[in-house]
């Protein structure tokens, strides 16, 4: 079980990732902007960041650069998950310093397994569970949006 920060500006896609990761037993911290994602990383120190590239305020590359230039966050793992899937995008992402690159649409059956490979060794070994209905942390888009709204109002204060 790991604490994973997921950043995506599309709430349905954020819900999908969250759902798949939570179903695999992880805790997910959702964010829909680059700057809120960065602040949450500093505040929550997740084990992994899953970062979309196209974001409303800044892009994933700029967020990555900020994360990488912060000495407190050395060793943080960041995986790009993006709908930018043209030739060269993977190389560009890896060159910029992402630890991994996944293109959308993601493959739901293997997504959590793939993310697992980027986790610190001690935290690996999780699979989506078919026991979902009994899972206590059901995540929905509405939930994510509510979380974001409260976060956004916090940020405004």
């Amino acid at each position: 079980m790991a604490r994973i920060l997921a950043v995506d500006d599309n709430p349905y896609n954020l819900e999908l990732m969250t759902y798949l990761l939570v179903a695999s037993g992880h805790t997910v911290i959702p964010a829909i902007t680059g700057s809120s994602g960065f602040d949450l990383v500093r505040a929550q120190r997740p084990d992994l960041v899953v970062l979309d590239i196209q974001l409303p305020d800044t892009d994933g590359y700029a967020v990555l650069a900020r994360l990488r230039s912060d000495p407190d966050l050395a060793g943080l793992r960041v995986v790009a998950v993006t709908a930018y899937a043209m030739v060269g995008e993977r190389d560009r992402a890896l060159l910029a310093g992402f630890d991994g690159y996944l293109s959308k649409p993601i493959e739901p059956t293997s997504f959590a397994r793939t993310i697992d490979t980027y986790l610190p060794k001690a935290l690996r070994g999780h699979e989506p569970s078919a026991q979902w209905p009994e899972h206590p942390d059901l995540v929905t888009t509405d939930m994510v949006l509510t979380t974001m709204d409260s976060y956004g109002s916090n940020e405004a204060q």
Partner: protein, 612 residues
Amino acid sequence: MAMRPDQLASGLLEAAPDAIVGVSADGVIVIVNAQAERLFGYPRNELLGERLEMLVPESAREIHPHHRLGYVADPSPRPMGGGMELSGRRRDGTDFPAEISLSAIETGEGIVISAAVRDVTDRKRAEEKFRGVLEAATDAIVGVNAHGVIVLVNAQAERLFGYPRDELLDQRLETLVPESAQLRQQDYRDGYVADEKPQPMGAGMELSGRRRDGTDFPAEISMSAIQTEDGIVVAAAIRDVSERSRAEEKLRGVLEAATDAIVGVNAAGVIVLVNAQAERLFGYPRDELLDQRLETLVPESALLRQQDYRDGYVAGERPQPMGAGMELAGRRRDGTDFPAEISMSAIQTEEGIVVAAAIRDVSERKNIEQQLREKNAELEKVARAKDTFLASMSHELRTPLNAILGFTGTLLMQLPGPLNVEQMRQLRTVEHSGKHLLAIINDLLDLAKIESGAVELVLERVDCTDVVESVTSSLRPLAIDKGLEFKVSLPDRFVFVQSDTRALGQILINLVSNAIKFTDAGYVHVSLDVGPDGDAPTIAVSDSGPGIAADQMDRIFNAFERAGVVAARGKEGTGLGLYISHKLAELVGAEVTVDTSFGVGSTFSVVLSSAP
């Protein structure tokens, strides 16, 4: 105090600069002055009363009395000898060249002939030396006195004009100068004589000489005035410049034939040479350009650089073309400027170094270059915009598909809860259609990139066996799943082709997955073959599928054509695979061909280019 007449005569006699010897009509010496004693080396008493012939060289002694008698018969004062070379004999027996003037004096004792004798040894020596210089000159030299009469010629002049010396002397100079040039010639000569200052004419006079046989030749004439005992003599050094004129004419031809404007500048920066193109380019007539400074034609901004180059050239004295690359500006007579490309080279001429500048107006080229730059920038902008558009479109289409396929997947994984059979079947249809849509989106984007030229190809040495192996091994499971025989035959050596790895891989994936897709039973074979000379490696993908009907053959490589609709029914496909393969093959210099038999099977081949 009054002086006696004989005393006066004696004083005059002794004061005379010349040696004076007075002789009676019968040849006896009656008067001698001190100069005569000194000149001939006799004391006065050894001369008085002796015969005059003792002072005359032996060669002339016999004839001398006859001349004397001739003079007595007509005793007017005159130079003796009438142009003959005279000599005197000293007491010691040596002779010296003499100039002698005679006059007759009536005395009480009869007529006395007075001879003033001057030793002209020094002058003769000088003249001889001068003669030596004259003859040593390479040019023909003709000396003309103030009356325009030739008084002096050298052997070169004889040779050049074809006259013997004595025919030239006493002729007028005009004889040697054709009518056309006479006037000018006259002017120059007069000018010289009037000035009385020797000054070389230098080159630049275009005259011609006329030979004795009446033929003319182009001549370069340098003149200088020489002050002589007989007055001013203008010496003209005449050179036959036929050879040079021909060369110059040729050069002029080259100059005028040049497409560039050419301006020649001497070491002082003064224009000495222009061609018609230069007149046209700068808008000046030739005579306004000559003697101007080059700066007239080169605007202020470029002055310094221009100056540097010119000085460098003249100092270097080495002809070296400047070549292109100098961006200067030319200024026309009307004050307008134009961008110019200037090539310079130094030419050694008779008048010193001339730097020839070939000047080309590159306005048009500059304009075209500017237009091309703008057009390029515009095209780059369009290409960038197209790229950005395609990337954005890809992103925007994939984003909703992510949720569609993703949540379909979670449902099928039954993460939210169990599904019944019909729910499962319908969700599989959603998933299938979603994946089909994704395939179409991918193909369309590929196609858009190919058609817009945005696809980046790296043509390089590609190991063909490697590409075939990786494609077939990734698609083999599909064939096996369908229960097809899947065979791959490769040569037992590397086959290198000139291609783009990704494009070649994509072509092959399309062909092999098509073969698997359309073949329900039997086999799919992939082989790589090389021609007998290792030429035109060919990848063949054969199947035992339905084949393609003859009437469909010309349409299979078109977009959205799915050949043999009947056969394709129920088969998943975008209708773009073959079209994309065909386009990609074109881009990498390969060709996709098909050999098919309806109902039996098809073979699609990719014919490649061997790597050099």
